[in-house]
Structures are given as structure tokens and as C-alpha cells.
């Protein structure tokens, strides 16, 4: 997913809570669990022992209190069938309950709405056993039908959910329901209140990851019917740890504790005030002043403030960081009548770009990469084969260009968004490519134009990014580089029949080393064809007030509001 939908990104699900849920539990110690996970996770760690001490100093989580955080943009949707954005999911993960989620700080699936599940031997039937004690915040009971209602909303032509393609035609009967030729989805069955059976048309090894996204949460259809679908997009009501108290578009959204939440003692906070504030410098000042609790997935730390606060003894121990499961790249359109269609030229471009320079321009908030898959993604290779590990080597790049028949270089167009940081990076790339004789004409565009021109393959080169929907290599290699995705997400116009065939094979194999090895093999084949220049994997930094306890970062979830508590300050 690209910028605006950065979302799906980082995330994939609702949250939470897991701390307690995992334990089976309903334990009141969710805050403690979260603390432990945050401190020990490989990815989502505090940057110093000082931050770990943030929570270690508190032996007993305390209930109550209100925190304020800034959101760097307004919410687009609060209907779980429509929301597809990290800002929206920051709220939805608190209000809704999908069947499954992730262990805090990991990419490992964990129970949430379902306490357990069975998968048939052919991998096509999932039977979920739901928590019997789940209630919506209005007191209505959550049943298997509550989940089916949401699946049907996602498939409905009147809702037009962006998640429709995740389950159509995957779930038996989904296409017929979507087309209006069936009144129910035959592959979705409620057996009593607490058992949900889902039948698939083919095994999908990452199906649980799909279900962990907020799209597939329990909804109260009678509530939706009472207010209508449009109003539901602004008045969400679910069974998560918080409920919405108020929402003033463009101004503020307030969450309060859901008294009916199924984990006793969770959440700790009484209220979270989310203030919409796109001025990052002002957000940093509010943090310094102690008004806001943290700056994390909800916003960004302004570049200047990031550098100064990292070097300031007062703040440097309050940082956390998380490698994002995302890759920024240049798509090289493999088909048009331009020198880019020549593989040697594409390989030369791969070797001509100084990615470390890009990392410096990002204040170190990134890690340079030569791969498509991010490090946290199964299939990532610790060491790439030498023939596809394109290291920065302008001399060799120039030789390749000569070999390709362009000793004097050429001129090429590159599109990007007009985000100021992106423009800085594309100018650096332009300068690098000029060193080997390639003149790049930059086309910075508004986000809507950029998205459209990428999809339309208007330019031979495009600066692009992709953030995971869920932590499975399918979400990168298949979604971005399968020939079937041309005109949608395959912005390199790449279509290799062998790769397509292997992608289809990997998509239905059981999870395990064999499947991930196949994805590594596919990645190497794609890298050899060089339809991309992988640039870097972003790193998200958070800064958290020392009086905010229980904080951790996760590679797939948003901020753990349900596990936070505040110490006296």
C-alpha cells in the first residue's frame, strides 16, 4: 500500500489486548505483559535502557486518567469495512474486535475474538470458537453472526469496501453474494452463537493474517440499521477496549473506556483525546510541553526536532523504534518504448544509486536494502546471491550502460509524490544517475495524480513505496509483481510467466520453510530481471513521555492504547 494507505501497512489488525487474551485470560495484568513484550521484542524496542526503565519503574499499573495525542491527519473512515489507513486503524483497533490479532511486538498470530480455531486437513475450512463473554459497548452480545454481518458488508456493492478482493472469490459463495445473485454467503455459517465456520475455495496460508485486519471485525448490524451505513462511518460502535465518545471532523476524536470490554481491568485509561494536528513542529512542542503523551504511529516527529531531541539528554531516553515492514523503491516500467525496457539499463540504474545517502537524508530513519522483501518478512534473505545483489558501483553501472548500447546515457522521466521529503530523495537519485549519464526529469505530483499515473504506467520510472497489509510475502511479491496486478499495483509493468506460475504455487502452499524458500527463489528471479530498484526500509521512531507506562511498538499493530497507564507526574 502506498503512502496514503501507509496503513495497511504497518498494520494489520486490531489489537490487542492481546496481552491478556493470549493468556487466555482476562488477566488484569495486561499492562505488565505488554511491558514485557515491548522491552524484549527484537523489533519494537526502546532505543535505550532508559526507555525500558520507563515501565520497569512501575510495579503496579494504575487505572484512570486521560491522555492526549496528536493525529497528523483527519480520519477518513471509521467504518471497519472502509477504513484502510494507519490513522483510521489507530482508532479502529481500539473500538473493534477481529477474530484474531498478533502477539504484542511480534508478527505471530494470536487469539482475540476467537479463543481457538480448527483448520481442516485440506486447509479450506476454518472453524472459529468465539469468546462467549463478548459484548458490544451498547451491551448487545457479539455472536458468530456479528462477524458474518461484517463479511457481508465487505462484499456488498453498496458499501464498496477496499477489502472486497481479500475475500472474493476466496470464500465460497462470495462472488455470488457480491454480484447480488445470492442473499447469503454460502461459505459463512454460524453454528450457534459462538462458532463460526468459514469455507474457502482454496487453501490460503495467510488467511488468518487477512482476518487480523480491522475489516473483518464483529459489528452490531441492528445498531448499523438504526443509524444507517453513512452515519456508521462516523459513529462507530464495537466490542473493543474503547468506545467513541465524540468526533468532530478536522478537530478531535475522543475515546473512552468500554465498560463491557471482555478483559477485566482493560483498558487502564479512562479517556484518550485524539487531536488532529498536521503541524508536526507544533506537535513536537506540545510533546515537549507535556501536553501530548507520545508521538508514534499517530504522527511523525518533525525532522529538525528528531535530530535535536535524539541528542538532548532530556529526551533521548524516551525514544522507541520499530523497523517497518515496508519497502521504498523505484518502479522501472519494463515495457515502454524507452531504454528502461533494456534489462542491462535497469541493472545499471540499480548500481548507480547511493542508497546510504538516502538514509542520511532521512536522518537515519531507514535502512538501505537491495531486496524487495523487508527484513521482518518471511522469505527475506540474509545474504542475496551475488548476481542480484546490486551494490553501489557507478563505474560498473556505466559499463553496463555502454554494454546496453547507451554509452552517452539518455533522458528519462520519473514521477513521485510532491511530499517535500520525497522530493529531497528524488533529487539525490537524479544527481546519482547524472553521474552515469542518465538525465532524469522529475515529475513531483499531488498524491491523487501520482497514484493515478503510477497505476496508468504513464512514466518509465516511478518513486514508490509499499507497506504490508499483513506479514506474508504474498503481500509484496504477488500483490506488486504478479502480471495479473498490472493496472493495479504492479507499477513496473512486470510480467514474467515463470514468476507468475511460481507465485500461484506459493500462494496455496502450507506455511513453512518450503514455502518461504520458494518466495526467496521468486524474489531472486525478479531481482535478476530488475523491474525495481529497492531503496530502503523505513524505521518508525516514537517518543513517549516518561509518565506513560506500558508502551511498546509492534511491526503489525498500531499504538497499544489499551495497555497504557499513566504514572503520577
Amino acid at each position: 500500500m502506498s503512502a496514503k494507505w501507509k496503513s495497511a501497512v504497518a498494520v494489520a489488525s486490531s489489537a490487542l489486548v492481546l496481552a491478556g487474551v493470549l493468556a487466555g485470560c482476562g488477566s488484569s495484568g495486561s499492562g505488565n505483559n505488554a511491558t514485557g513484550s515491548g522491552a524484549s521484542s527484537n523489533n519494537g524496542t526502546a532505543t535505550s535502557s532508559g526507555s525500558t526503565g520507563n515501565t520497569a519503574g512501575q510495579t503496579q499499573p494504575t487505572s484512570g486518567g486521560t491522555i492526549q495525542i496528536d493525529m497528523d491527519q483527519d480520519f477518513s473512515h471509521l467504518d471497519p469495512a472502509l477504513a484502510y489507513d494507519i490513522i483510521d486503524w489507530e482508532v479502529l483497533e481500539q473500538i473493534y474486535t477481529p477474530l484474531v490479532s498478533y502477539k504484542p511486538g511480534t508478527t505471530e498470530i494470536a487469539p482475540l475474538g476467537a479463543t481457538s480455531w480448527d483448520v481442516s486437513s485440506d486447509g479450506k475450512t476454518y472453524t472459529f470458537h468465539l469468546r462467549p463473554d463478548m459484548k458490544f459497548s451498547n451491551g448487545d452480545k457479539v455472536t458468530a453472526q456479528s462477524y458474518i454481518d461484517e463479511f457481508e458488508r465487505v462484499l456488498s456493492k453498496t458499501i464498496n469496501s477496499p477489502a472486497e478482493s481479500f475475500i472474493d472469490p476466496l470464500i465460497v459463495g462470495s462472488t455470488a453474494y457480491h454480484n447480488g445473485s445470492a442473499k447469503t454467503v454460502t461459505g459463512l455459517k454460524a453454528q450457534g452463537d459462538d462458532t463460526l465456520v468459514i469455507q474457502l475455495t482454496k487453501p490460503e496460508p495467510f488467511f488468518l493474517n487477512v482476518l487480523a485486519m480491522p475489516f473483518f471485525s464483529a459489528v452490531d448490524q441492528s445498531y448499523i440499521n438504526s443509524i444507517g451505513d453513512k452515519a456508521f462511518d462516523h459513529k462507530p460502535m464495537g466490542s473493543g477496549p474503547f468506545e467513541q465518545k465524540s468526533y468532530q471532523p478536522g478537530n478531535e476524536l475522543v475515546l473512552v473506556k468500554n465498560p463491557n470490554y471482555f478483559i477485566p481491568g482493560t483498558p487502564k485509561l479512562d479517556e484518550v483525546d485524539m487531536v488532529i494536528n498536521s503541524n508536526l513542529q507544533a506537535s513536537a512542542l506540545k510533546f515537549k510541553q507535556g501536553t501530548s503523551a507520545f508521538i508514534s504511529w499517530n504522527s511523525s516527529i518533525d525532522s529538525q526536532d528528531f535530530v535535536s531531541m535524539m541528542n538532548d539528554p532530556q529526551y533521548k531516553n524516551d525514544f522507541y523504534k520499530q523497523d517497518e515492514v515496508a519497502t521504498y523503491y523505484i518502479a522501472l516500467n519494463t515495457k515502454p518504448n524507452s531504454p528502461i525496457r533494456n534489462k542491462l539499463v535497469r541493472q545499471a540504474i540499480n548500481m548507480a544509486i547511493d542508497k546510504q545517502k538516502l538514509v542520511k537524508l532521512l536522518n537515519g530513519r531507514a535502512v538501505a536494502t537491495n531486496q524487495i522483501l523487508p527484513p521482518a518478512m518471511p522469505g527475506y534473505e540474509k545474504t542475496l546471491p551475488a548476481n542480484v545483489d546490486y551494490q553501489y558501483n557507478p563505474t560498473k553501472a556505466k559499463q553496463l550502460l555502454q554494454q546496453a548500447g547507451y554509452p552517452n546515457g539518455f533522458t528519462v522521466d520519473m514521477v513521485s509524490s510532491n511530499n517535500s521529503t520525497v522530493e529531497l530523495l528524488t533529487q539525490s537519485i537524479q544527481s546519482d544517475l547524472a553521474q552515469i549519464g542518465i538525465t532524469v526529469k522529475l515529475h513531483p505530483e499531488s498524491e491523487s495524480s501520482w497514484l493515478q499515473d503510477n497505476t496508468d504506467l504513464k512514466y518509465p520510472m516511478g518513486f514508490d513505496d509499499w507497506f504490508q497489509d499483513f506479514p506474508d510475502p504474498y503481500d509484496f511479491l504477488d500483490v506488486l509483481l504478479n502480471g495479473d496486478e498490472i493496472g493495479q499495483n504492479n507499477n513496473a509493468n512486470y510480467n514474467n510467466p515463470t514468476v507468475n506460475k511460481e507465485l500461484a504455487q506459493a500462494a496455496t502452499m502450507p506455511n513453512g520453510p518450503e514455502r518461504y524458500a520458494l518466495y526467496s527463489k521468486i524474489q531472486n528471479q525478479i531481482l535478476a530481471d530488475a523491474p525495481w530498484v529497492p531503496l530502503y526500509n523505513p524505521v518508525q521512531y516514537a517518543i513517549v513521555q516518561p509518565w506513560v507506562k506500558g508502551f511498546y511498538m509492534s511491526p503489525v499493530l498500531q499504538d497499544p492504547l489499551q495497555n497504557l497507564w499513566v504514572a503520577p507526574h
Partner: protein, 306 residues
Amino acid sequence: MLAYIVRRLGGAIVVLIGISMVTFLITFAVPGDPARMIVGPHASMQVVEQVRHNLGLDKPLYIQYLNYMGRLLHGNLGYSYNDNLPVWTLIRQRMGNTAQLAFGGWIVELAIGIPFGLISALRHQKLSDYVVSFLATFGFSLPAFWLGMELIYNVAYKLHWFPIGGTGGIRHLVLPAVTLGIVGAAFYQRLIKASMLEVFDQDYIRTARANGVPPFRVTFHHAFRNGIIPAVTYAGMDISLLLGGVVLIEQVFNYPGVGELAYMSINNLDVPVIMATVLLAAVFVVVANFVVDILYAFIDPRITLS
């Protein structure tokens, strides 16, 4: 009088229709697909097409325009593509904020501009004239976003006198209004100065002075009433422009007004909101012009509406 009003109203409607057509065409000339923006990059082409159909974006452009205008005439501004809320609801929620900010900024402009203009006129080519002219020009030269950030940093963050942005009462309004006022005051200073100097040269002022009318009374009773007329004209235009959106100020101060809404809708290619905010700004300018013309007649009886 009635004929004049009818004629002006007719002209205003033509202007507004023209603006609506141009805005509509511009939003479609810009590359980008609102349907794709709404559903995101992961949605299938089938879903994108369905959204396009539901929004009527698959119809010819002129049909879309006529449909829009038809709804507009019934008072329906449509639904925001991005927020899924009625456009009027979005505007109504922000209109009050923008009106407060515009009014606050205007008051500060006048509070600075009028005294500065009077000082410049009364002390023409004296040191105090140069000082206030320099200060007003300096204020006008400051980039609004920079001035705003400086006030946030020094006055809100360092001194804790006011909140760092947002809304919630008069304290939230002070810094953005002062920013607007400082940047806009130079216009009034210049206008008042030029106008007052011209009035001071008039025969009736010379006569008043010759008759021994005290200088204070000459300035404020005789000269000021006429000298203020250009400022009134400009004030009408100014407040309409401010109501139309003070985009930068609203952005810097995280102030949820119509200007910020317009900015976001352009980014998101949210055509119904773009149309509504542009038309709203146009309505303000047209209405303000109209009202100012009428006010002229009351302030200066020599001006006739014919």
C-alpha cells in the same frame, strides 16, 4: 434602488455560475481518479468501477455538472468523497471557526492599521511616520507561517500564555488572529494614510481650520469620516477573503476552519468539497462587494447608486 439591486444580483448569479463551471472543469482537468482515491490502491478494478458508477463519475462531464447544479439549486451540496459526510455538515462545523478567526484577525488589522495610518497622516514625513510605516511594512513582509510558528514557539511554548494551536475558546483564537492582523495591518495603514492626506487637502478642512475648529475635532469629526471610506471598502473585501479561507494560518495553528478543509479536499480530490468551498468563497466576495456598495451610499451621500 430596487433596479440597482436586481441588476447587481443578476450579475452576481452569472459570476457564481461562471465560477462553478470553471472550478468543475479544473477539478476534472487535474490528473487523478477520485474513485481510486476513495477505495485505495488495493481495491480491485471492479470495486473502483462500482464506486465510479455510484458517484456518477462514469457519466459525461456536462451531465455530471448539470446534476451537480440541479442538486445545488435544491440546497444539496452532496456528500464528501473522503469523509462520507454531507458537505454542508463539514462546512457548517468549520464555518464558525473560520468566521471567528476572520473577525478576530480583522479586528487586529484595524486595531493596528487605523492608528498607524492616522499617525502617518498626522505626522507626515516625520520620524513617527517613518517608524510606523516601517513597522507596518515589516509586518506585511513576514511570511504568515513563519510568524505563526514564532508566536507558537515564543508565546505559547516558552511563555505558556496561550495554547499551542487548536480550538476551544478565545485563548486559542488570539495567536492566529494576531498573526493575521500583523500581516494584514499594512494595507489599512497605507489606505488610511493616503486617504487622510487627501482629505486634509480638501477645502472644507482648510475652512474648518481657518475657523478655529480644534485640530482633534478637525481630524476625527471632519476628516476621519471621509478618510475611512477606502478602508471600509477594503474591509468588506478583506473579511470576505478571510472567510473564504485563511489556509496557511489554519494549517500552522491546527485550526479547523474552511480554509483547511479546502486544502485537504484539494489534496484528496474531493470534488464536492472543492466545489462547495470555492463557491462559498465566491459568494462571500460577491455579497461583500454588494454590501459595500450599498454602505457607500450611507457613509457618503454624494455617492448615488445609479
